[in-house]
Point group: C2
Chain length 359, copies 2
């Protein structure tokens, strides 16, 4: 096996190599039981234990009290864009939204199909280069919730403090969940696709306050009701078994490495190394406003698109892979989630310095 | 590694051991590229090639013409119970349903939430021990489609010839897709969860006639519209990458072993061995009517529930695992999908003979 490349992809993304190795063993023969993990009935004792453990690790790491349900669903964050208003609003009711990028916009679109959406703030005019402070907007008094995206993968922006509001918060944490501790109590619901910080594609974590489960209107189909899944411990139908299993392994890895306070410290260190390199020269220019910079996705530009293309290509040859920015803002994006190694960031910075000299 | 057990689970179910071994390698290091399969961006060249290949193998094996789209979705068959009427009916329109068991009933329930369902036939009175012939029912003349479940996992019944109707057919083939060739042309839509005959849990195959994509009413959320996924080649959002990859491996295995005509022959042989054993004694009694017997799930009873429990327990000790029948009809169920080895069926029959003698 050749050395591992440094994978800067925005998701699916780098996972801990120990997790991959354990998964490989279990896929063929789970705990030497003579059956592959992905062949096991989801109703078997062994698989129920896997799901229970994954759930309890998520609860422990994120410090989630018992009045919140933890669900493993399918369909990605994009399905949640619709399920949130289907379950928490219903026709005629209003959700307030902070429009900080593509994913927020998509969720606003779905809310408008199902109910009503009030856009309390938008940073679209400045190419989504920042997230707002509380003073920058007013939430609709009639709104049922205030919805925001904690980290904007495409633009490299992140809320460093969460909005304070009289309304309950609803948050898409797909790209920074498990990267830092936070207090769940102001939240009605938090969701996150697994494929950035928690595992492979194919499972969506939903954390929902129990008292909200009964809000759902009667005409919502069974599979799109949170209550359906909450009542059956995510086992109403066959769940995405492999993805749940890997989430459990990633949570174990996180716990063994000191949990969220420890990973937050490392995430800050990694991002600081990269932002320092960007700020130390005019050759590289950060896309995000400094007060909104993401610790997960670091976005920057070079003097010309041609140089950016060359940068991506030469980086790739050195095993620095997946650095091409999203087409909507171009440039470079380095995604450095929890499992991305610090050495990869150091190597990237070294490459940046060399590239600048020879460019 | 100890020997593999014989896994008679109804799904997730036995997969070819070569597939598991290949998956294990690729999970850690895909084709020696220094990146794990489940870490790869779904937008990467390598992963797009995986999806394209899986799609084209499904098309080839099932002989699907170009005017049908092949989609890999999430949410299982249970999500399709709602998506079918959301996309093909809409308020006020009617679907005709053949109620041959639990999964048919659930799909009828969803159709009634969204539109209108006409139950053209039900075998509920005889504990769903058979599927109907065309002469047994009349389809509602106003119906948009005739919906049926090709194989009923719980009861062990199967349509050996598909319904003939002026209406287009819609079919839940979750538990027997890829087990035999069939002609897609009378079908508007076919769907199947992957976790029985095609791969692990977490992906749902949908085959839909292209001209039906525009039927969807405007108020259906983006993710629940087939058109959304068809327009983007199942890549509108992050797909269930691992499950799609394994489906591709299973399809390659099927093709290498002679495709669907060859696997159908083996499936008939395996089932014949088991039904012959059941019919050769009064000790074992088949649940399904002989004309409706499933080649995938063989259901039978013993003289008493106590003997059935003992049978399951002793079988399990011999490595004959997952034989307990579904709680709704009790008894024994042996699920013998494509990848289930013939030797496992021979061993089961041997065990049945010994058990009868000592009982």
């Amino acid at each position: 096996m050749p050395e591992r490349i440094y994978n800067f992809s925005p998701g699916p993304a780098t996972l801990p190599v120990e997790v991959l190795q354990q998964a490989a063993k279990d896929v063929v023969n789970y705990h030497d039981k003579g059956i592959g993990l992905i062949e096991m009935s989801h109703r078997s004792k062994d698989f129920i234990a896997i799901t229970d453990e994954a759930e309890s690790l998520v609860r422990e790491l994120l410090n989630i009290p018992q009045n919140y349900k933890i669900l493993f669903l399918q369909g990605g964050a994009s399905t949640q864009f619709a399920m949130v208003p289907m379950n928490l609003l219903g026709p005629g009711k209003i959700g307030s939204y902070l429009n900080t990028g593509t994913w927020a916009k998509k969720s606003i679109k779905e809310a408008k199909i199902i109910a009503s959406a009030h856009v309390a703030y938008s940073s679209e005019e400045t190419k989504f280069d920042h997230v707002p402070s509380d003073a920058d907007y007013t939430v609709d008094p009639a709104a049922e919730y205030l919805y925001f995206v904690s980290n904007n993968t495409i633009y490299g922006t992140q809320f460093h403090t969460f909005p304070k509001s009289e309304k309950m918060l609803v948050c898409d944490m797909s790209s920074d969940i498990m990267s830092r501790p936070f207090d769940i109590t102001p939240f009605g619901l938090v969701f996150a696709g697994a494929q950035k910080n928690m595992g492979p594609a194919g499972a969506t974590l939903v954390i929902v306050r129990e008292d909200l489960l009964d809000r759902v209107p009667e005409n919502v189909p069974t599979m799109f009701r949170y209550k359906t899944h909450a009542d059956k411990g995510s086992m109403f139908n066959t769940p995405p078994c492999f993805a749940i299993y890997v989430i459990g392994l990633v949570c174990k890895w996180l716990k063994a490495n000191g949990g969220l306070p420890a990973i937050e410290k490392i995430n800050k260190e990694k991002a600081a190394i990269l932002y320092e390199a960007i700020d130390g020269t005019d050759f590289y220019r950060g896309h995000a406003r400094k007060d909104s910079r993401s610790l997960m996705n670091v976005t920057f530009n070079l003097p010309t698109p041609e140089l950016e293309a060359k940068f991506v290509q030469e980086g790739s040859k050195l095993g620095l892979d997946g650095l091409k920015g999203h087409r909507s803002i171009g440039g470079i994006r380095a995604s450095i989630y929890n499992a991305f190694p610090k050495q990869g960031v150091i190597d990237l910075v070294e490459f940046m310095k060399k590239f600048e000299k020879t460019a």
